[in-house]
């Protein structure tokens, strides 16, 4: 090994780096017989010694406890926000499912009684002061004499007013009827039931929703066809 080759291994020898054993032996043998390379190796070993001493001194250094405290606070804040976000994310599809389930539940509840079918019922209007209804207990309201044409018209032709809250009656504000399913045949005979739905159901029908009140319930009138299927819905405030 000559001096140039020695320069290539001197640092690794001084640092104790794992290297080819033969190269190490050759390097050390060269340094033993070369004054300049011997001093060069001594210099490198000196640097390694001081570096090791510095590393040993610094081994106990650590970030102040305040850093850990701040990070844990950030962790908790992030987890809280994450939980809140996950809750909000899960609410939307769940609310839609609840709305659909409520409509189906209303249909099933009305189909259960085996008594005489109501005859000649053209359509139904909600009572002026509807009693509060539980979420899973749709209420059947005795039909009155509503004009069928009016219901059909409402069903077929939504009001051109931009505001969805278009009808007011007996202190109630209600939207136009919104078709639940596409049905080319108009509803000639049917029933209307009032149910309570989560407000998030508004969004499912493309209506604006105040997210702060998304958990609250809202009343809705559901129009059922003769087959018992929901045909249209309107929201009542």
């Amino acid at each position: 090994m000559n001096c140039t080759e020695f320069e290539g291994v001197v640092v690794d020898i001084a640092r104790g780096e794992s290297m080819d054993a033969a190269a190490r032996r050759e390097g050390e043998a060269h340094a033993a017989g070369c004054g300049r390379c011997s001093r060069r190796l001594a210099n490198e070993r000196f640097v390694s010694g001081v570096v090791a001493a510095a590393a040993a001194e610094d081994a106990v250094l650590a970030a102040p406890p305040a850093v850990e405290t701040a990070l844990l606070a950030a962790f908790r804040e992030r987890e809280t926000a994450f939980q809140r976000g996950r809750h909000a994310r899960l609410n939307w599809p769940m609310a839609g499912a609840i709305a659909a389930m409520l409509i189906v539940a209303a249909v099933l509840a009305l189909r259960k009684p085996e008594g005489p079918r109501p005859v000649g019922v053209k359509s139904v209007e909600p009572s002026p002061t509807p009693a509060p209804v539980q979420v899973l207990a749709p209420v059947y309201r005795e039909p009155r004499k509503p004009p069928v044409r009016k219901l059909r018209a409402a069903y077929r032709k939504p009001s051109p007013e931009p505001n969805a809250e278009s009808a007011t009656r007996d202190g109630e504000v209600m939207t136009d009827f919104i078709p639940v399913v596409y049905d080319p045949e108009p509803v000639e005979h049917g029933r209307m039931v009032r149910v309570r739905l989560p407000r998030s159901a508004l969004a499912a029908f493309g209506l604006p929703l105040n997210e702060q009140h998304a958990e609250e319930a809202i009343q809705a009138d559901v129009v059922l066809g003769e087959d018992g299927l929901a045909r249209a819905v309107r929201f009542v405030k």
Binding site: V11, N43, V51, A55, E68, L71, L72, R76
Partner: protein, 198 residues
Amino acid sequence: MQVPTNLADDGLLRLIASGNEQAFTALYRRRQGAVYRFALHMSGSPSLAEEVTQEVFLMLLRDRSGYDPARGPLASYLYGVARNLLLRRMAEDRSHIQIGEEADEEGRTPEQLIAHSEVESDLARNQAVRSLRRAILALPAGYREAVVLCDLHEVSYAEAARVLGCAVGTVRSRLHRARALLAQRLAAKRSRSSGCLV
């Protein structure tokens, strides 16, 4: 839920992803020392090292998916994040590197200045360590990184290359040059303090 103390970093990260605070604490306590010391050795500023350590772990919280175990161990990833933050901060504020060049005015080589290969006494060693710290801070950033990672933190050439984003050969050559500069500066210091050439 109690977190096993010997759980590997990846296992702790999985627990952290599920919101386990103890896992985060365990991981932080396991890795913060190296990150803090790296930042301190690179900057010479305890306050900056503190800030960088905090920011590194905040980034780990914010961007857990940024770490890919397939690309190397977590320790290397944390060094890399700390390095990027440090380079940005030091570029913004050059005052963190306060140590000037300490070239030997008479142009003497280390070979002429150093004959002893060991630190003879505690006093001399403490003095040498102080000189080394100043000399490391005076190194160009690329050389400083190599010395801090490979020598002070005993990171392998391959891992250092991963952290620095360069080839292993580059790490080796930077380390060689850095150590030559350190040897020169330490020798100059020794000769000044002893008042004579050995």
